[in-house]
């Protein structure tokens, strides 16, 4: 009889402690992350082994495991930044959808605007150079003074363009 009581006591203690432990762990986790939560982060990461495939739509087994890893990390309370950093640390900068703004990578951000600006300057100067000799001409040129002329002038221009086309 005594033995049986002891046994029940031990079972009770074990059960209660398990329940307490489980509850405490679950409450630390917060709500379970949904697939959408995982995708929100996976979308910003690129598959470390395939070419140019975002992690949220990658079909490989490896990517499925990485998404599971993100889910786990979210469940453990990691922030988005921490998760991204984890992937960068483990698989290199190529997992990010853009090169990090460091060192040589600045070139990817700076070269296009510099070239486009240079193009704009060249274009502007060329336009100004072409424009100069015509300044007098424009003033002397046929001005369309009144609203009534507009339609006629338009027809004339249209006809002229049609005529000179071929």
């Amino acid at each position: 009889m005594k033995q049986r009581l002891w046994f029940i006591f031990i079972v009770l203690v074990l059960t209660i402690s398990t329940v307490i432990l489980t509850v405490s762990v679950v409450s630390a986790q917060g709500p379970t992350p949904t697939a959408d939560d995982v995708n929100a982060i996976a979308k910003q990461l690129y598959c470390p082994v395939c070419e140019n495939t975002p992690l949220d739509v990658c079909e490989t087994q490896a990517c499925a495991q990485w998404r599971e890893l993100i889910r786990q990390q979210l469940a453990d309370g990691w922030t988005e930044e921490q998760i991204k950093q984890y992937f960068v640390d483990n698989y290199g900068a190529r997992v990010l959808s853009e090169p990090p703004r460091t060192g040589l990578n600045w070139l990817v951000y700076l070269v296009p605007p510099v070239i486009i600006l240079a193009g704009a300057v060249i274009l502007f100067r060329a336009l100004r150079a072409w424009n100069k000799p015509a300044a007098v001409e424009t003033e002397a040129g046929p001005g369309s003074a009144s609203e009534a002329d507009e339609s006629d002038e338009y027809i004339a221009r249209l006809e002229e363009e049609l005529r000179t086309r071929d």
Binding site: N39, V57, A64, G141, I155
Partner: protein, 669 residues
């Protein structure tokens, strides 16, 4: 045996193209018309010969000749006939052969035209086309032989085409893109002929105007069809991912499009000859670059490039043609000086130039973003990804600027425009256009990019329609035609102009779709059991049933039935599915319900456990995306209007002469 025949024909064609180069140059210097004629006929031989070679390869593909490495790599016994045929362009070697075959067809067509007025161009057009053809044939003959045999025992079955390519889109998308690529060689050949002969008037542009327009249409269609294919098959809810291969096809378009516009300035005003030369040279070399990139995969890493036998050859060829062409432009620099000057910064010429700057800006971003990963790996050993966020952020303002120019430029005059004349033309359409963003704001749209984008779309549409209306009204007043007749005659007489306007409208219709999906796309992913529901964007998606079965051709199909409803109204069923091919490769086919307002796009996710108790679905809501495809139809119509051969003009004038003779009137035309 048959393979040796196919290869032998290739070698002979290669030698013939070399012959036509040498003999054309020799004939030109010896002033021997007979020799030039011989070169021309040699060139005409290349197309029938390449047809023979390509048909041989198709025969081998269809009849499972797995002793050939190429046949083994791109087909297997389970593939349907149409895919075995299209496997001709399913891999690198076959693509090169197909490319050469198309090029031979185009160059043959161009040498069959009447040359009376342009005799001096002929030898050089032959030389440039043949050099291009000979280069591609050399790549096939020496490096990428589709007729090469497998060493060792003959495999029983082939590896098969990449599943993503096993789609009816395979029939049409690559040929369209290649047609676009190849046909740009023709205007380039004429441009070079003009430079070499020193005939630097706009003759070369007038000859090639239609070629260029068709080339541009094929290229544009190739791009859109590729986007559609991605949307239908890839199952990532989108149509464009700024992937290097996509960008490679986009780049020639980014130069070809401003070229189409700036040649008009040269035709009308004798200006910008140097720029036009640079643009066509750039287009040509980007076409070669694009052809190379789309099939080689060298961009994946520096090592892939180094290992690829043809990579260095391609870069050598691009470098050589670029240097030679630019050297020719510099040599003729003085002859290419403008005959005219610009009168206003708001003239149509100036606005076209601004548009060219924006297009080239997008090109710079695309090119740099595509090659930067290689540069990074080369110098730091670190691999990086340049993905959609980069391109989207960098190019969006430039696309917006182009839309603004599409709204302004049609109203500006050639030669001279002032703020006053332009302002007077634009204020009415602008006010009409402003209704759209106000309505959108009232309707709850708060995204700045969307509001600006829709304003620009509205501006372009109203300005363009206003131009049609103004022209037709002016004509109907002047010639007593009713408005519709006046409109049709006006457009009919000036097809290039009004075809171009139709294309402008088609472009902004596509922009509506792009704005819709880029800014307003929503998505959700969830595991549900049969009988459960998912809600997204007002839709209720009910999971009815799941079926898994093996298809006749060996595919293992998993297919779900979903019934869609919105606000309690039944909207039919969708059947997302995925197929696993016998070789284990998956293919995802989303269920899509498409309307003018939005697309509902359901993907049965194949990378997780699938069963009736728990099935993962990914659902996208893509507003307005259908307008991309609607715009495409209008686009084709616009190009047809602009590029259709003007037979009717002679016909119309003959008719009006008859009419005049019969009635003694002055006629309406």
């Amino acid at each position: 045996m048959l393979a040796d025949f196919g290869y032998g024909v290739l070698v002979i064609t290669f030698l013939i193209s070399l012959y036509s180069i040498v003999i054309a140059i020799y004939g030109e210097f010896k002033k021997s018309a007979v020799m030039v004629e011989s070169a021309r006929r040699a060139m005409l031989l290349t197309w029938p010969l390449l047809t023979l070679s390509a048909l041989t390869l198709v025969y081998l593909l269809v009849n499972n000749h797995y002793e050939l490495e190429y046949v083994w790599a791109v087909t297997n016994r389970s593939m349907p006939l149409y895919l075995k045929i299209t496997a001709l362009w399913g891999g690198q070697a076959g693509s090169l052969l197909f490319w050469s075959w198309l090029l031979a067809a185009f160059t043959s067509a161009v040498t069959l035209r009447k040359w009376d007025r342009d005799r001096e161009f002929l030898p050089w057009v032959i030389v440039v086309s043949s050099v291009t053809l000979a280069f591609f044939l050399a790549m096939i003959v020496f490096f990428e032989n589709p007729f090469a045999k497998i060493l060792g025992p003959v495999p029983v079955d082939g590896r098969g085409l990449n599943p993503l390519l096993r789609h009816p889109g395979m029939i049409i998308h690559p040929p369209m893109l290649y047609l676009g690529f190849v046909s740009f060689v023709i205007p380039y050949a004429f441009a070079m002929a003009a430079l070499i002969t020193g005939r630097t008037d706009d003759r070369w542009i007038r000859i090639t105007r239609r070629w260029t327009l068709w080339a541009w249409m094929f290229l544009s269609l190739g791009l859109v069809l590729g986007a559609r294919w991605a949307y239908d098959v890839l199952g990532w809810g989108g149509y464009w991912g700024w992937d290097p291969v996509e960008i490679a096809a986009l780049m020639p378009w980014l130069v070809g499009t401003p070229f189409l516009h700036t040649v008009m300035i040269e035709e009308k005003r004798g200006m910008l000859k140097q720029l036009n030369m640079f643009l066509i040279i750039l287009t040509y070399d980007l076409v070669i670059f694009g052809t190379f990139l789309t099939r080689s995969g060298v961009l994946s890493s520096v090592h892939a490039f180094a290992e690829s036998a043809i990579g260095p050859m391609f870069f050598g060829f691009i470098g050589l043609t670029l240097i030679t062409s630019v050297a020719l432009v510099i040599y003729r620099w003085g002859d290419l000086k403008s005959e005219n000057s610009l009168h206003s910064l708001l003239s149509r010429e100036a606005l076209f130039l601004l548009a060219a700057l924006l297009f080239l800006g997008i090109l710079v971003i695309s090119f740099w973003g595509t090659i930067f990963p290689l540069i990074s790996e080369l110098f730091t050993g670190q691999k990086v990804t340049v993905g959609p966020p980069f391109y989207e952020r960098a190019t969006t303002p430039l696309w917006g600027g182009l839309m603004l120019l599409m709204g302004i430029a049609p109203l500006s005059a050639w030669g001279h425009s002032t703020i006053k004349t332009l302002g007077r033309a634009i204020w009415k359409p602008s006010i009409v256009a402003l209704i759209v963003p106000i309505a959108a704001y009232a309707g709850g749209i708060r995204q700045t990019v969307a509001l600006i984008g829709f304003t620009l779309v509205a501006l372009v549409i109203t300005v363009t329609l206003y131009e049609f209306w103004r022209g037709a009204r002016a004509r109907s007043r002047k010639s007593d035609e009713n408005f519709v007749t006046a409109l049709l005659r006006l457009a009919g007489r000036n097809r290039r102009r009004y075809g171009g306007y139709i294309i402008h409208i088609s472009m902004v219709l596509m922009a509506i779709g792009i704005l819709g999906i880029e800014i307003f796309q929503t998505e959700t992913q969830k595991n549900i059991a049969v009988g459960d529901e998912i809600n997204l964007a007002g839709y209720t998606i009910h999971y009815d049933s799941l079926a898994q079965f093996r298809n006749q051709d060996g595919r293992y199909v998993t297919r779900a039935v979903m019934s869609i409803s919105k606000n309690g109204r039944d909207m039919g069923e969708l059947y997302p599915r995925f197929d696993i091919y016998p070789d284990g490769q998956p293919m995802t086919i989303p269920g899509v319900r498409s309307t003018l307002v939005d697309d509902l796009y359901i993907v049965l996710v194949n990378w997780e456990q699938v069963g009736p108790q728990s099935t993962p679905f990914k659902i996208y809501h893509n507003p307005l995306v259908k307008w991309v495809w609607i715009g495409t139809y209008l686009f084709v119509f616009g190009v047809l209007v602009a590029a259709w051969p003007e037979k009717e003009r002679e016909y119309a004038s003959a008719r009006s002469r008859r009419k005049k003779a019969a009635y003694g009137t002055s006629g309406a035309d």
